[in-house]
Symmetry: C3
Subunit: 352 residues, 3 copies
C-alpha cells in the first residue's frame, strides 16, 4: 500500500520527547530494523534487537527513552515513551488509508429485501444479499458478495468482508469483524443412528456473536441444536477454526488457527487455545485456562490451568514427560544392563 509521511506528520502522531538527526527522505514504508531501507520508518520494540539499531538503514527510528546511541547520517532518532504503541498509532493512520470508510448506501447490484432494517449510515456493497427481516446497524459495512440471511442481525460498526455468510436468525453485536469466507450459522453436526442410517437431528437454534469479536478467514460457527451458540464479547478467533453447536465461548478469549471445539463445550472468559487444538464436547474450561498447540482435551480444565499434549497434561508435567519420552532408548538400555547384571532373563521381543 501507499505510505507517505512527512517528519512533521510522524512527530504529530508519535509525539516524541526528543528528536535527533535529520533526513532528506520522505517516509514511504515500515520495516523491521534489519530489513529497513532508506525511506522506511522502524522501531525498537523488543530490547533484544537493540544491537540492530546502530546498523539499520531506516530513515526514522522510534526509540525508547533508555536508548543512548546517536543517529547515523541521513537518519532521525525519535525518542518516545513506547515505540510499539507509537508505531501502532502510525499503522492505524495507514489502516485508514488502506481501508477508507466506505460511502453509506446500498450498491445497485446488492439484493436487499423490502422488509429489512438497514441503517442509513450502513454500507451494503456490490453483490451482497440481505434477506427478509434482517437488520443492519449504523455504519455497518457489508463489503462485497456478503450473505445476511432471513432475520439475521448485524450490529453497528460491524464489518463483513467479501464472501462472509451470516445464516438466518443469527446475530452479530457491535464492531464485529468477519474476515472473508467466514460462515456463521451452519448446521451443527448432529445425527441419531436409526436402522442403519444417520438421521439428522434438526438444528433450529441460533448463533450470538458478542461485541468486538473478530473471526478469521474461512472459520465456521455452527448454529445451536436449540438455544444459542455463543461467542463472547472481545473474543478473537483466527482462521479456519471450527466452533460446534451449542458451544459457549466467554469474553476476551483467543483461539488460534485450525482449532476445533466440539459441541456444547464451554470456555469461560480469557481462555487461550493454541493452534490446531482439539476439544471434545460437553467440557468446561475455566477462566484463564490455556491449551497448548495441537493439544487434545477430553476433560474439564480448572481455572487458570495450562495444559498440553494429547491426551493433555498440566503444562509442566507434559514438559517433563516429553523429556523422558525422548530418553526411552537410554531407559531401555539401563534396564537391560540391570537384567544382565542380575542374570535375569528379559522378555524382549525379537528384533529389538
Amino acid at each position: 500500500m501507499q505510505v507517505s509521511f512527512t517528519l512533521d506528520e510522524i512527530a504529530a502522531i508519535a509525539k516524541p520527547r526528543k528528536t535527533a538527526g535529520a533526513t532528506t527522505e520522505s517516509i514511504r514504508g515500515i520495516a523491521s530494523l534489519e530489513s529497513a531501507v532508506p525511506g522506511d520508518i522502524s522501531f525498537l520494540g523488543n530490547p533484544r534487537y537493540r544491537s540492530s539499531v546502530a546498523s539499520t538503514r531506516a530513515s526514522v527510528v522510534l526509540l525508547p527513552p533508555d536508548y543512548a546511541g546517536k543517529p547515523g547520517p541521513d537518519q532521525v532518532h525519535m525518542t518516545v515513551d513506547n515505540p510499539s504503541i507509537a508505531l501502532a498509532r502510525l499503522c492505524s493512520r495507514i489502516e485508514q488509508s488502506l481501508w477508507p470508510r466506505p460511502k453509506p448506501g446500498i450498491h445497485a447490484s446488492a439484493m436487499v429485501a423490502a422488509d429489512t432494517s438497514v441503517a442509513a449510515s450502513a454500507t451494503v456493497g456490490p453483490l451482497c444479499i440481505v434477506e427478509s427481516g434482517a437488520a443492519v446497524g449504523e455504519r455497518a459495512h457489508l463489503q462485497a458478495q456478503v450473505f445476511v440471511g432471513r432475520g439475521a442481525r448485524v450490529g453497528e460498526d460491524s464489518w463483513l468482508m467479501p464472501g462472509a455468510i451470516v445464516s438466518a436468525e443469527c446475530a452479530l453485536g457491535s464492531r464485529v469483524r468477519l474476515h472473508p469466507g467466514v460462515v456463521i450459522g451452519s448446521d451443527g453436526f448432529g445425527y441419531e443412528f436409526v436402522s442403519g442410517r444417520h438421521e439428522k437431528v434438526p438444528q433450529v437454534g441460533g448463533v450470538l456473536i458478542g461485541d468486538d469479536v473478530e473471526i478469521g478467514a474461512n472459520s465456521t460457527v455452527d448454529r445451536a441444536r436449540f438455544g444459542q451458540t455463543v461467542v463472547g464479547e472481545g473474543t478473537k478467533i483466527d482462521n479456519l477454526v471450527q466452533v460446534g453447536h451449542n458451544v459457549v465461548i466467554g469474553k476476551h478469549c483467543l483461539i488460534c488457527a485450525l482449532t476445533g471445539i466440539s459441541g456444547s463445550t464451554t470456555l469461560c472468559d480469557y481462555v487461550v487455545l493454541g493452534g490446531q487444538a482439539g476439544l471434545a464436547g460437553h467440557l468446561t474450561l475455566g477462566k484463564g485456562a490455556k491449551v497448548g498447540a495441537q493439544s487434545g482435551i477430553s476433560k474439564d480444565i480448572p481455572p487458570g490451568v495450562s495444559v498440553r499434549g494429547t491426551p493433555s497434561l498440566p503444562y509442566m508435567v507434559a514438559q517433563r514427560i516429553f523429556v523422558l519420552r525422548n530418553r526411552l532408548p537410554e531407559l531401555f538400555r539401563r534396564v537391560e544392563m540391570l537384567e544382565k547384571h542380575l542374570g535375569v532373563e528379559s522378555e524382549k521381543k525379537p528384533g529389538n
Copy 2:
C-alpha cells in the same frame, strides 16, 4: 427464531400417553431442563438429568413413561414413549418455519446458461451461476451465490447453501446438503518433481456424491486424477474437512471436523473418523472401523477395529500406553533406585 406452539399443537405432534398439570403460557422456546424459563418446552432425554426435572422452570416437560414426579405450578408434564424423538418432531416443525420451502423458479439475478436442464420445481436463488450443460433436479434448491460448473449435476431435493461451489463435471445425488462455502471438485494435490520444479499432474476426474450426503461448511472434496472421488450414500461430513483425490468413502460414514483424508484412501461403510484425524494415502479402513480424534493413520485398519493415537494403536492398547506414558517419571525413579541398590553406574544424562 420465532417458536410458537399451543398445548394442543404440541400434543398433536408429541402424542403424549398422558398429560398432567396446566399452564397459562404459550410455548415460545426450547431449552434444556436447567436453562429453561417460563414459556419454554424442555425434555428428559438422558436419565442423568432426572433430578433436574423437579426444579426446571420450563412450562412444558416431555417425560418418559417411567418418570413418576408431579408437575410444578403453571407447568405441564407430558408422558411420551421417547422424549428425544418427540422433541425432534417438534424441532422438525420449527425447522420448516426456519427454512420454508422456497418458491420454485430462477431468480432474475441468477446466471443460468441456455443449455442447462433445470427442473421446473427447482429453485435457483439470487446471484447463483449454473454453467453450460449442468443439470439441476426436481425441487433442488440453490440458495444464493452458489456456483454449479459446466456439466455438473445436482440431484433432486438437494440443497446448496450460500457460496457452495460444485465444479465442472461433478455430480451430487438426491437429498444432498452442502453447507455454505463447501467446495466440490477442486484439483487433487498431485505433482511430479522434474528438474527442480513441481510439475502439475492434470486432475481430470470427477467427484460423485451419493444420496443423502451432508457436507459441512467450508469442507473441500478434490476431483480425481482420473476416475472419480466418491462419497457414499448417507455419509455425513462435518465442517473444514479435506477429502483428497480418488478417495472412496463408503456409505453411512461419519467424519468429524478438521479431518484430512489423503489421496486414494478407501473408507468402507460405517467408518467413523474423530475430529482432526489424519489419514495417509492409499489405505483401506474396513467396515465399521473407528478412528479417535487427532489420530494419525498410516496403515490399513481391519473391519470393526477402533484405533487411537499418532501413530495409531488399537484403542485399548493406546489407552494403556497413555497411562504408562504418564508414569514415566515414576519408572525412571524406580530404575534409578534399582541401580543404586546394585551399585550399578547409570548412563543418566547430565541435568536430569
Copy 3:
C-alpha cells in the same frame, strides 16, 4: 467428463515405439489397470502392478519397454518410453477440454471499477468484482464470483476459481492458480493485551504470491503486519492451509492440507510439510527440510533435516521412540520383575 480418443489420436500423443493387438472400441475413459472396463485406456506406471496387466479389461494399455506380455483379445498394447508421462500428456489434452480457454472479455455482470488495468486478453467472469486501482494481467482468468480488492494485482495467465478472494494491495505473480474459496490478504492474528482486552494491532502489510504458485481450496494467507507475507515461486499449497502474517515461504515448497504456519516463520526453498503439521512462529526451516504429518514444530530445523512428532524429533529418532513407546507395558513388567527379584519395594501407584 467426456473423453473420446481414436487409436490414431492416442498414438499421435503417446508416440509409441511399437503397438500390438487391435480393438474395435473407441476410448472413452481412463482407469487403473484393475478398475478399467472396455473402452478405457490404462497404463503400467508402477512396477508393482505388473501382474495386473494380464487381467486388465482396458482396451488400450500403455506399457514400458521392458514389459513382455501379449495383448488380450480386443486389446491394444502400446510400448512407450514412460507410461506415466505418456498418460499425463493424454490427461493434459483432456484437461484442455475440461477447462477450455475462456473467451477474453469482461462479463456483463462483473463489476470492474473504471480506474483498473484489465488486459484485453484477460477474462473477467460473471459476478466478479475488480476494485479501484487493481490490475489483471494478460490472459488472466477470473472465473466467477471472484473478488480482487483495491490496488491488488493478478499476474498474466493466472487463474482465480469461483469464490477466490484477493484482498486490497495483495499481488499475485504469473501463472498462479487459486482454487475456489482461497482467501489472500485476510488480517494477521495480532493483538496486544491492554486493560483486560485484546486490542487489535493494525495489519497494514500485504501478500506477495510468486509465479507458478498453486493454492488449494479454502486455504488462507494473511497479510503482513507491515512488509509482506511471501509465498515463493513454484510453491504448491494444498486445501485448508493457514499461512500466518509475515510468513516467508521459499521456492518450490510443498505444503499439505490442514497445515498451519504461525506468524513470521520462514521456510527456505524446497521445504515439505506433511498434512496437519503445525509450526510455531518466528522459526526458520532450512532448505529441503521435511516435516512429517501432524508434527508440531517449535524449533528451527537445519537444512535437509527430516523431523516428525510433537514435539518433533529427527525422523529416525522419532521412529525409534515410537517403537519403544509401544513397548512400555513390557518395560514396566521388566522393572517389576527386577524389583521382585531384589525384594525392592516398588512405588507403583494403586490400581496399576
